[in-house]
């Protein structure tokens, strides 16, 4: 380390303030007098929901923006005063790392090595190390644009590490990356910290934050807490419980009930059980609550996520009017139906045969490459069905074929009882589709978007009005009805996209990675909604990167390299994780399944070769 880093703190901020001017003229406080201390040689996580100011803080640290108030010292340099010196000494990986996609892996690395003035001798020593860490060795000649999402992230990281920086700043490096790649990235970062590097990274994965030495929690520009993760976990001490369900029952119904209780801060499915965090005043109420009667609960030690939710809950109570809507539970249209299928009388129940999606030996080739390789599964009515897999597993390709956006090379595909090859149009009336990017017409208002899709599905008259009213109230869009959808906050975009896809009351709803990039709060709210839809009789087919979200599904398949590796209920899938202990998580299971399959595949190749 050189003489400039002799201070104790890598980053020292005092009352840092940053305000943005929206186009409409209003000022948004992105950072509200945030003071922070980040020590050398430690891994510090920056967490908080969307709009907390994480990216703004990181950009200030990197000298890409100047603060409006307060002082910010990075490596003992006033970054507002001399950004270039900071930029010479740190490594920074933005959320969307700007790799030059026309350049090869090697050319991207060389560019950054040249910019950082890395000598040939240093390169000879450094490159093999980076290649080993990132496992990009075999792909050095490949164009960056043709790498998978996870590989791109690893290359981005490698580019910032062409020389050892004094401080590494990472903005959500694991977002949109599958668990396998995420684990690999995480291992690289931990290895570097082990070598004495200071790292600041923002993340929306709370399990990652838990493994950091320090955590900074931001919300709406304010600093909620900072310190070791254990301090934050402590907030939930004695409040965490696990509720055990009868075998085979999906966890989501219980979870959904629990969330409606104002005295429960958080509830989330976990390994076939439901984990919940109780707020003050719960005990006195418990006796009156019948739903927990037949269910055994036991106290468990809290984890970081529980403490984090306690923190946010405190904040929400303190700032009730400002953020009341963020985690507001969905008003269920038929809350009384949550307990069983037998009570449902909606129109979806009257439809014929029980299998609504049937996929048989489906193949999709792109040239010589089999994106989907002999895939078969079926989805039954009212199921929540998950498609899980790493980047490039063929999930989206399968999805596009199911929706009739892409023809299959071979195999049979029946959706809502219709052969997708011959009668695409008639199947469309019965499916709803939410694309990965929440495709909406940005210039049109919320109402205009909904009206357009209502017309597109041929709704008119009284029915049309009813559906529009339903969408507005069900998805709580009324207050934003006249806002152009392009200006909606992320969570509302997702709601509007779902409302548009459900306009015609379809039997089946397809959702392509709807929670990618969403913060933990938004994801809970989303699943609450999905649970309620499924209770109303809608079949939901969903792809996701978040393995714990498989717990919400009735059944799921795990795909890799175009093939299905496993399918079944969450419990059946979890059973694949041998040796991970009784409380194996879905992520453990996923990694075990993929690694086993790749291992077998490798052996097969060796045998063949």
């Amino acid at each position: 380390m050189n003489e400039a880093s002799n201070g104790t703190y890598a980053i020292l901020g005092d009352k840092v303030r940053k305000t943005f001017q929206r186009k409409t003229g209003e000022a948004v406080v992105a950072l509200d007098d945030v003071s922070l201390e980040i020590r050398h040689g430690e891994l510090t996580a920056l967490v908080g929901p969307d709009g907390a100011g994480k990216t703004t803080l990181i950009r200030l640290v990197c000298g890409l923006m100047a603060p409006d108030g307060g002082s910010l010292k990075v490596l003992d340099v006033d970054v507002a005063h001399d950004p270039q010196q900071v930029q010479n000494r740190i490594g920074y990986m933005p959320q969307k790392f700007g790799l030059y996609e026309d350049l090869s892996v090697q050319e991207n690395l060389d560019l950054y090595a040249d910019l950082h003035g890395v000598t040939q001798a240093e390169r000879d020593e450094r490159y093999p190390r980076l290649m080993e860490m990132t496992a990009l060795g075999p792909f050095t000649r490949r164009q960056a644009g043709r790498l998978s999402g996870g590989m791109k992230q690893k290359l981005g990281l490698a580019c910032t590490l062409v020389r050892v920086p004094e401080l590494l700043v990472l903005d959500e490096p694991t977002v949109g990356v599958d668990p396998l790649s995420r684990r690999e990235l995480w291992e690289i970062v931990q290895q570097l910290v082990g070598e004495g590097l200071s790292v600041l990274m923002s993340t929306s994965y709370l399990d990652e934050a838990e493994r950091c030495e320090q955590v900074i929690v931001l919300r709406e520009g304010k600093l909620l807490a900072s310190g070791p993760p254990a301090d934050i976990t402590k907030k939930a001490a004695g409040r965490s419980f696990l509720a055990k369900l009868p075998d085979g029952a999906p966890a989501r119904h219980l979870q959904s009930q629990l969330l409606e209780d104002p005295h429960i801060v958080d509830a989330v499915p976990q390994a076939g059980q439901v984990r919940f965090v109780r707020a003050d005043g719960y005990k006195t109420r418990q006796k009156r609550e019948p739903e927990l009667a037949g269910i055994t609960t036991r106290k468990v030690p809290p984890r970081f996520e529980d403490g984090f939710m306690m923190l946010l809950d405190e904040f929400t109570r303190d700032n009730a009017p400002a953020s009341a809507s963020v985690a507001a539970p969905v008003a269920l249209e038929r809350a009384d139906q949550v307990n069983g299928a037998d009570k449902r009388t909606d129109k979806h129940a009257e439809l014929g045969d029980d299998v609504v999606v049937e996929v048989n030996d489906l193949v999709r080739m792109f040239g010589q490459f089999a994106a989907v390789n002999h895939v078969s599964f079926e989805v039954r009515r009212r199921e929540i069905f998950g498609l899980l897999g790493p980047n490039g597993a063929g999930k989206t390709t399968t999805f596009r074929m199911l929706c009739g956006l892409l023809p299959a090379t071979s195999g049979a595909l029946r959706v809502a009882g219709v052969d997708m090859h011959t009668a695409r149009a008639s199947a469309r009336q019965r499916i709803g589709y939410v694309a990965q990017k929440f495709s909406l017409y940005g210039q049109l208002t919320v109402t205009e978007n909904l009206e357009f899709f209502a017309s597109a599905y041929g709704l008119h008259g009284q029915h049309r009005r009813e559906r529009l009213d339903w969408a507005m109230s069900q998805f709580e869009l009324t207050s934003l009805a006249n806002l152009p959808s392009g200006q909606l906050p992320g969570g509302y975009k997702q709601r509007l996209a779902m409302a548009a896809a459900l306009m015609h009351d379809p039997d089946i709803l397809f959702l392509d990675e709807p929670t990618s990039g969403a913060d933990p709060l938004a994801r809970r709210e989303f699943w609450h909604r999905i649970t309620s839809l499924s209770d109303q009789g809608v079949t939901v087919i969903i792809t996701t990167h978040f393995m714990e979200e498989a717990e919400y599904c009735d059944r799921a398949v795990i795909q890799d390299a175009g093939r299905i590796l496993a399918q079944g209920t969450p419990a059946e899938l979890r059973a694949h994780a041998k040796g991970a202990g009784k409380m194996a998580t879905m992520e453990d299971a996923f990694i075990a399944i993929i690694e086993e399959a790749r291992h077998e595949n490798g052996q097969a190749l060796q045998a063949a070769g």
Partner: protein
């Protein structure tokens, strides 16, 4: 460990790294190839082969209501002229019908009393042209006047009395372009368009693309300086512009045989000056708008259209309304067109070259400074 970023060769090495990166991208990106190679080729072919203001073989209807030998004698002038392809018709209504149908561009009418008029001293030939394309119509009119004038000359040469065509004749010489080939000014003018396309449009697109794709954010947090980023853009696109320039000059010389009367190095020098101005405009447009779509629109409206319309390339600036003439003074294309037409057709006329080149140099300097100020290592 050595962290000193200000090693003496650092600046050069970083700049070279950026230039290499940019050049690789140019070669691999089909849109660069489209703008830098395909578009200029299309333009060269169209300007060199298809576009022409030279009027030849105009189809005219000759209405001989008077079939006397004198009338035929006058009319025969149209057959001899290289500019006309006459078609004899017997009646005026038929001639008019041909003109309405667009089969002829004009009518030459000899009324039935033409020869008797002529005997009395003054014969009238009626010429009707289709005025829609005013420029062509005027040229036809001039040529027709010339044909009739030649009849008088022929008569005079034969020693016959003649009047009206008069004693005064014009001996005209068109300097620089004796045969009046429009290709001689269209093809050099093309260099303006091609330099503008590559310099302004392509540069605006690629720099805005870096902002849009977020590739600059990671680049900013390195020892690289804003002027190095700028230089890393200017050098490769300057090189591309030089290729476009060479292509056009080669086509002008070898394909279309436009004379180059000035010296090649002066031509190259002033073209490089203009290229710098165009690059500067492209860089400024993209750093200010940070959007490919808007930047390309700005580049089109602020550079390409004026280069075509207001530079004097096609239309004479002296005939524009005063307000518009003043506007042309801020357009770099105006100075470049003057330079191109002079160097190609007139020669190294320093009294034209020096002031015009000086203005271009000044503009290049201004745009480069503005581009440098507009390029900051900051996110909005």
């Amino acid at each position: 460990m050595d962290h000193s970023p200000n090693r003496s060769d650092g600046k050069l090495r970083r700049t070279v790294a950026l230039i290499v990166k940019e050049s690789r991208q140019i070669i691999r990106d089909p849109s660069s190839i489209a703008i830098a190679v395909i578009m200029p080729t299309i333009l060269i072919l169209l300007f060199g082969y298809a576009l022409s203001l030279d009027v030849k073989n105009v189809k005219v209807a000759v209405v001989l209501e008077d079939s006397s030998p004198t009338a035929r004698d006058v009319a025969s002038g149209f057959e001899m002229s290289p500019y006309f392809a006459p078609r004899y018709v017997m009646s005026m209504p038929y001639g008019e019908q041909l003109m309405r149908r667009g089969e002829v561009e004009g009518i030459i009418r000899f009324r039935s009393d033409f020869s008797s008029q002529l005997k009395r001293g003054a014969g009238e030939v009626q010429i009707v042209v289709n005025g829609i394309d005013a420029n062509t119509a005027r040229i036809i009119e001039n040529y027709a006047q010339g044909v009739i004038g030649q009849w008088s000359q022929r008569r005079r040469a034969e020693g016959l009395p003649v009047a009206g065509a008069g004693p005064l004749v014009v001996q005209s010489r068109v300097w620089f372009n004796e045969t009046g080939e429009s290709r001689y000014f269209l093809v050099p003018g093309l260099i303006v368009l091609i330099m503008t396309l590559i310099g302004a449009l392509l540069t605006a697109l690629v720099v805005a693309r870096e902002w849009e794709r977020g590739t600059l954010e990671a680049l900013f947090v390195t020892p690289v300086h804003a002027d190095e980023i700028l230089l890393g853009k200017i050098v490769p696109y300057f090189g591309l512009g030089v290729v476009g320039f060479a292509l056009t000059v080669a086509a002008a010389e070898f394909l279309f045989e436009v004379p180059l009367r000035g010296s090649l190095w002066v031509l190259t020098f002033v073209s490089m000056l203009y290229l710098l101005v165009a690059l500067g405009i492209g860089l400024v447009a993209s750093s200010v708008t940070k959007s490919q779509f808007v930047a390309s629109q700005v580049a089109l409206i602020a550079t390409l259209l004026p280069a075509l319309m207001l530079s004097g390339f096609l239309f004479d600036i002296r005939s524009m309304p005063i307000a518009l003439q003043y506007i042309t003074y801020v357009l770099p294309a105006r100075y470049f067109v003057t330079l191109l037409q002079t160097i190609f057709l007139a020669g190294d006329i320093w009294s034209v070259i020096v002031p015009n080149a000086a203005v271009l140099a000044l503009m290049a300097l201004i745009f480069m400074i503005v581009a440098r100020v507009a390029t900051q290592k900051k996110l909005a």
